[in-house]
């Protein structure tokens, strides 16, 4: 019953080793001669100004929140899509109402200017 997960585990191992293995190999074979100028923070070739802790604008948080809302919508769509072939037309209308309510939130976002990147 867990046979399908063998492939998943193999994929997981491959996915982890893909970035980790080159890092380990690079650590083993690279020459290590650090200087202060090499160790300094690289920021587009400019001198680093100020602290890296900059307070975000709250508008950016709205993007994240909108993403969460529509991510939840996907979670609702998934079981509906699986059951849809046996449910037929009424399910389509029910889901259209659901989507219309959520589309209204997107329209509200847009009209309020919450989607403008400041």
């Amino acid at each position: 019953m867990y046979d399908n997960y063998v492939f998943l585990g193999l994929f997981l191992i491959a996915a982890i080793s893909f970035p980790v293995l080159p890092l380990i190999v690079a650590r083993l074979i690279r020459p290590k001669r650090p200087t202060p100028i090499k160790q300094s923070t690289y920021e587009c070739g400019l001198e680093v100004i100020g602290d890296f802790h900059v307070q975000f604008k709250i508008q950016y948080y709205l993007y994240a929140l909108a993403f969460v809302i529509f991510d939840i919508e996907v979670v609702f769509l998934y079981p509906w899509a699986v059951a849809y072939p046996e449910l037929g037309m009424p399910a389509l209308f029910a889901m259209l109402i659901f989507l219309a309510i959520l589309a209204f939130s997107l329209v509200y976002d847009w009209r309020k200017g919450a989607l403008e990147w400041i």
């Binding site: 994240a64 809302i69 996907v74 059951a83």
Partner: protein
């Protein structure tokens, strides 16, 4: 095969516990958020071990995908709070640990004794996959399903109202509908002129018809 499952369960449990410990003990708050994502991932693996594939997908999609983004954004919204002189453990952590351990044990110990643990030895086929959930959403739970959409709508609208309040001037009190309309009519020709505090007495009592710009603008 059963041994493999048991080993996987042990590894997953250690991953969850270790990640959860790192969340509360690591100094850098962004690292704590990343450890929290690791903890979520471990819980998704736990769901897979319980053959709840849909829950595992939801866990990865919502918790690792969305909630993690939300947590990271919330961390970036805060000011600098990781003072290097501030200890990670606060002063009375021993007594706090004792109280929480007792409370946790008070719930967990009776559960461990009363629960029928042998149920996992004879695994049943999953009875609630996405197909059954889809049927339930479209038949018995159609109304809660639509209310969930309204709830999500309310969450987003509320967040926008709270966030956009900073852009406009903060209002002293909630305006009546007539005042709101009057204010909007006044703002259309010249947007920046706006009274610092809207007058409470003069304009709230009269039911102003919509085109009455001079009623609400007197405060300036």
């Amino acid at each position: 095969m059963d041994l493999v499952v048991q080993i996987m369960f042990g590894v997953t449990g250690l991953l969850i516990l270790g990640a959860a410990f790192m969340v509360v003990s690591v100094r850098n708050i962004i690292h704590a958020a990343l450890w929290l994502i690791t903890c979520f991932f471990g819980i998704a693996m736990l769901y897979l071990l319980l053959q709840a594939e849909f829950l595992a997908i939801v866990q990865i999609l919502l918790y690792i995908g969305a909630v993690a983004v939300l947590v990271l954004f919330a961390v970036m919204l805060t000011r600098q709070i990781d003072d290097p002189d501030e200890p990670v453990l606060f002063q009375r952590w021993r007594s706090t640990l004792l109280i929480t351990a007792i409370l946790f044990a008070a719930v967990l110990v009776p559960t461990i004794y009363n629960h029928n643990w042998l149920i996992f030895a004879d695994p049943q086929p999953a009875f609630a996959g996405p197909r059954e959930l889809g049927f339930a959403f479209m038949n018995a739970y159609l109304l809660p399903f639509q209310i969930a959409a309204v709830l999500l709508l309310a969450a987003l609208v509320g967040a926008i109202i709270i966030a956009m309040e900073d852009q406009e001037q903060r209002r002293v009190r909630v305006l009546t509908l007539a005042e709101e309309v009057a204010l909007r009519g006044e703002r259309e020709p010249s947007p920046p002129t706006r009274p610092a505090n809207p007058q409470p007495a003069s304009s709230s009592s009269n039911p102003t018809p919509p085109p009455a710009p001079e009623q609400a603008g007197e405060g300036a």
